[in-house]
């Protein structure tokens, strides 16, 4: 019922909404992550996203299965884009559909938080001054099952 993908093309929110919708469902909640023009006060011009593709797909599949178990069988479609994205480009879209809004919204929140916590995807920001930097916001939480290095 659910579907996940890591892709190298632009994302389409209307397509994901159409994909998860069903005559039995009254509520579709979506999340669109977008490249923004600054981070921590530094002007950003773009972001390189990269992924450990097969594992990212497996983790996303596990996450949407956990969401369905926790939120009344919520049906979810997730696409994460990789490659070089410009300001305004969508990096991730999640659509969650259910008969009722509580499970659609609950499932949506669960998927975005878990995605950020554990899916092996990385980003390197490009700044207006020409420099680039890896973003390691979630450092400690990214190692749920093994010890850390360094």
């Amino acid at each position: 019922m659910s579907r996940v993908a890591v892709v190298e093309r632009p994302l389409d929110v209307a397509a994901l909404v159409a994909e998860v919708s069903s005559p039995t469902d009254g509520a579709i909640a979506t999340f669109v992550g977008v490249v923004r023009d600054s981070n921590a006060g530094r002007p950003v011009t773009g972001i390189d996203y990269s992924a450990y593709g097969p594992m990212a797909t497996r983790e996303l599949e596990a996450i949407v299965a956990e969401a369905a178990a926790a939120f009344g069988g919520v049906r979810v479609a997730v696409e994460h884009r990789v490659g070089t994205l410009a300001v305004g480009d969508a990096s991730v879209i999640i659509a969650a559909s259910h008969a009722h809004r509580a499970d659609a919204l609950g499932g949506l929140g669960f998927v975005i938080e878990e995605l950020k916590r554990r899916v092996p995807i990385w980003k390197r920001e490009h700044y207006a001054d020409g420099t680039r930097e890896w973003v390691h916001a979630g450092s400690s939480r990214s190692a749920p099952l093994s010890g850390g290095v360094a």
Partner: protein, 79 residues
């Protein structure tokens, strides 16, 4: 045992490629691999990483085998 581990993001950049060979004892665990990496990572200013075995996060006590697909997972930043 000779392991060929997968590298990503800051680790791939710091070690100059998407793979790296590491020699470990035949009964090595994930913890042993992390210990082996530790000094190298610290010298390069890399953040703490996790280890995945066969595309799943691995516990520190897990035994490594020659055929395993082993990956170093720097802090993730998807979304």
């Amino acid at each position: 045992m000779q392991l060929n581990v997968l590298l990503f993001a800051s680790y791939a950049e710091a070690f100059g490629g998407s793979r790296m060979d590491i020699a470990l004892a035949d009964d090595a665990t994930v913890a042993d691999l992390l210990e082996e990496l530790q000094a190298m990572a610290r010298a390069r200013g890399l953040p703490p990483a996790a280890v995945a075995v066969n595309q799943e996060y691995a516990a520190a006590t897990r035994r490594l085998a020659p055929g395993d697909e082993v990956a170093i997972i720097p802090p993730v930043a998807g979304g």
